[in-house]
Structure formats: structure tokens, C-alpha cells
């Protein structure tokens, strides 16, 4: 399941909902990305999606992750719009029989989201606004799965 939303994400409530009714699931991994506060700076992030296209692209990667890691279920919730420091940007939840699959699928989806998902991020910091692009580390992380 993929949800792109301009409303705040409630990670605890999402995890609770995700854990409901899990017969043969032994492992649930999650990753939560937060907007980092910089000391003495009121940083705001602005995230943009291409409605429909973004959901389709992420949905396709969720399908790929499910097949590759034999997942029982997976959810991606991505915030867009203006995001204040400390707020949740992205939540990934994966459910599998065993922990290795759940962890790896979560890691895989995050690497994809950080480098290849159709989302554009602008940082409004002290030095003025700038568009953030994937770091060398993000690109290397994503290439691990190719």
C-alpha cells in the first residue's frame, strides 16, 4: 500500500494498524525518516510529488520488494508539502515470516525512496532555499540492489 499525503504522519498509529491480524508473520520492520532540526536554524522542507505518477512508481517498487523478499505485506506513507523539523517525512513498514526478509525489504524500499522515487525536496534553511538531490551515498546504497 502506498499513501502520499500532505497531512502529518502518525507512525505509532500506523504501526498499530499494520500489526493487526498477522497470522504467520513473525517479523515487522519499520523505518521512519524525520526532518532533522539544525541547531539554531528553523529549517523547513518542502516536498513535491507528481500526483498519481509518484504513487504508481512507488507502488511498483513495493510490488518488487514483496516478490523479492517474500513479504506478507508492505506499506509506504510519504508526506509532501511543507514539513517542519522533527516531523515525519516517510514511514516504511514491512511484514515477513522472518527478520532478515523484513529488514532487507525495508532497507531496499528506503534506498529506492531516497534516490529514485519521483519526489522533489527543497530545503529552506539559513542559506536560502535549495533543491536537494541524492547524495553519493544514497546512489551507492541504491546500487547495492541492482
Amino acid at each position: 500500500m502506498i499513501r502520499v499525503t500532505d497531512r502529518p504522519i502518525d507512525p505509532g498509529a500506523e504501526l498499530t494498524a499494520f500489526c493487526r491480524v498477522r497470522g504467520d508473520t513473525g517479523a515487522v520492520a519499520s523505518f521512519l525518516g524525520l526532518a532533522r532540526g539544525k541547531p539554531g536554524e528553523a529549517t523547513v522542507l518542502e516536498l513535491e510529488a507528481y500526483g498519481g505518477f509518484t504513487e504508481d512508481a512507488i507502488g511498483e517498487m513495493i510490488g518488487a520488494a514483496k516478490a523479492r523478499f517474500s513479504l506478507h505485506d508492505a506499506v509506504v506513507i510519504h508526506r509532501v508539502g511543507a514539513i517542519a523539523a522533527g516531523e515525519a517525512i516517510v514511514l516504511v513498514l514491512t511484514a515477513a515470516g522472518h527478520r532478515r526478509e523484513a529488514f532487507e525489504a525495508c532497507d531496499f524500499l528506503m534506498d529506492y525512496l531516497k534516490s529514485r522515487a519521483p519526489l522533489w525536496k527543497k530545503e529552506h534553511g539559513r542559506a536560502g532555499p535549495r533543491w536537494v538531490e541524492p547524495t553519493a551515498r544514497d546512489l551507492a546504497d541504491a546500487a547495492r540492489w541492482d
Binding site: S115, L119, W131
Partner: protein, 81 residues
């Protein structure tokens, strides 16, 4: 008519997010020519590394015919969550 969408830094360069071209250009390259004629910086940015093009929400490469009433989106390198 052809609806054109810009994202990320392309939008800042253009100072528009969405624009309708009417009469519609016949091909993607014709559309890019029109855009570059109006804003050379934006035209150059569309040729830049990592910029992808979606036609009716599917990625396309090279020149393609633009169907009537289509939507073209120019997507700069993605930055994710």
C-alpha cells in the same frame, strides 16, 4: 492542447508549474523547442543530466509524437524522502 508540468528546480527556473500549449506541438522535440524559445535557461535545463520526461504519466525517451490532449511532465533528478 498539450498540458506541460514542471517539477523541482525546473519550476523555479520557469516560474511556472503548469502551462497549456495550444495549438499543441506535434512532437516532444517541437514542444521543447517552443519552451527553449521562450526561456533559454529552462530549455538548457531540460537537456541537463538526469532530467526525465513523462508523457501521460509514462516515462519516454528521445522524440515521440504527442497525442491530442496529452500531458507532458519534465522531471529533474529525484530526491526522495
Amino acid at each position: 492542447m498539450t498540458r506541460v508540468l514542471l517539477f523541482g528546480r525546473l519550476r523555479d527556473l520557469a516560474d511556472w508549474r503548469e502551462k497549456v500549449f495550444d495549438p499543441p506541438p506535434a512532437t516532444l522535440f517541437a514542444l521543447r523547442g517552443l519552451i527553449a524559445a521562450g526561456n533559454a535557461d529552462l530549455g538548457a535545463a531540460l537537456d541537463g543530466p538526469g532530467v526525465q520526461t513523462a508523457l501521460d504519466r509514462r516515462l519516454v525517451r528521445g522524440d515521440v509524437a504527442l497525442p491530442k490532449g496529452c500531458e507532458v511532465a519534465f522531471l529533474p533528478p529525484m530526491s526522495g524522502g
